[in-house]
């Protein structure tokens, strides 16, 4: 296949970036999207040019590192996958592909297609944990039975890989799906109840401080989430937040 690429190139955080066009021949349909970029980079290196930098690590859809906006959609045209799971068979010979970094004020570009997502870490540092010491001796794991439905719902929220596709997809660059998944994971478990009110207030405060946009319930995040995190989590966070505010 022959593919026409338009890729965002930006030397560093301060530099002004621009779209650069490349033509790549000999693309095979069995290649993953990132392997296609590997081939492009090998070509660039052999010409003495700097390769395109992009974030990636596990290349099996779980670490949440890869983060490309492909033809206007986070993680590309297929649903429920990350970029590293996208294969070139989803494209045709002669296709043009536009590749951009996640765009959000809270995710500044570091270089080319790499953005800084430490805002997500800070949101979790603000309260995304249960305060139990590892050095202590907690009770037996089976001492508190947890309803299977609650455990499963908590797990479903916890499957979030923190890739940021929700922010990238949202027309408002809102981080509500991410934050709500983290809030929900704990809110659904008895262990998480003690600190529930402070947790949601603190995490939302941090989310706002980072400069993410407001949620307008378009649902784009849910559609583009590679792990299918549900909008129900956002509603749950709203409930938790209202309850905590009234209480507080």
């Amino acid at each position: 296949m022959k593919i026409y690429l338009k890729i965002w190139r930006q030397k560093n955080a301060e530099a002004k970036g621009s779209m650069v066009e490349y033509t790549l021949e000999g693309v095979e349909s069995d290649m993953s999207f990132l392997e296609m970029l590997d081939v492009l980079n090998e070509e660039l290196i052999s010409k003495g040019e700097e390769p395109v930098e992009f974030d990636h690590d596990c290349r099996e859809g779980i670490c949440g590192t890869c983060s490309l906006m492909i033809n206007g959609r986070p993680h590309g045209p297929d649903s429920r996958i990350t970029v590293c799971q996208l294969h070139m068979r989803s494209f045709n010979d002669g296709d043009s592909i536009v590749i951009e970094p996640w765009r959000a004020k809270a995710f500044p570009v570091i270089k080319d297609l790499i953005v800084d997502r430490t805002a997500f870490d800070r949101i979790q540092q603000a309260g995304g944990y249960i305060s139990v010491n590892t050095s202590g001796r907690p009770v037996d794991a089976n001492a508190i039975p947890i309803e299977k439905d609650a455990a499963d719902a908590s797990f479903n929220a916890a499957t979030c890989i923190g890739c940021g596709a929700c922010v990238a997809a949202c027309k408002n660059a809102s981080a509500m799906l991410f934050t709500s998944a983290k809030v929900s994971q704990f809110a659904l478990l008895p262990q998480g109840q003690v600190e529930a009110a402070d947790r949601v207030l603190n995490m939302v405060r941090q989310m706002d401080l980072e400069g993410f946009g407001n949620c307008t319930n378009t649902g784009a995040c849910e559609i583009e989430c590679p792990k299918g995190i549900s909008l129900e989590n956002i509603a749950r966070m709203n409930r938790e937040y209202l309850a905590a505010s009234v209480k507080g």
Binding site: R103, A173, G219, N238, R239, E240
Partner: protein, 222 residues
Amino acid sequence: MSGLIKSSLARKVVMALSGLFLVIFLVLHVSINLASVISPDFFNEASHFMGYNPIVQYAMQPILIIGVIVHFVMGFVLEAQNRAARGISYVKYQGSANAPWVSRNMIYSGLVILAFLGLHFYDFWVHEMAYKYIEVNPEDPTRYYAETVEKFAPFWRTIIYVISFGLLGLHLWHGFQSSFQSMGVNNKFTPAIKTFTKVFAVVVPLAFAFIALYHHLNPITH
């Protein structure tokens, strides 16, 4: 409480509550308007009550105006913040791939409605204020029906009204059900809520449009 307004979640709730309040107002409004098609006499009575009852005039009317202002101002604030949150915009962004048009364009449907409200206020509210407080005319419990029908005589006004009702429908299509999500309601009743709100978003603007067209097509002949 002021801290609450600083938070993105609280702003959502304010939008939802003010929106829901306006939805309730729409129900009242469309009910009275429908009377103008069915029973001009009842329409006159109801309009007169609304126009001269002190609770309506000095309590509910200001609340309504505040509701409208809050909803619009907050809408603009949110839109400005949301645009800023993106920073650099995408060269290519396929919004249609993951979200319906209505949900992505609330600001535009809202702006059209705002413009319409300007006209609507000029047509009826300003007229009422002038009638009552500037010209200081005497009370006339029978004038409303004729005045209303007369307003819809010009074709251009009727068309503007009908188009605006179309936009109102789109705005409601997303906004009404969205307000439940914003207040944390997402449960087994959600599918039913969505169906109801969507029926509402079609029926109520249709009724308004029907009334406008009806009066345009059935002028009072003396």
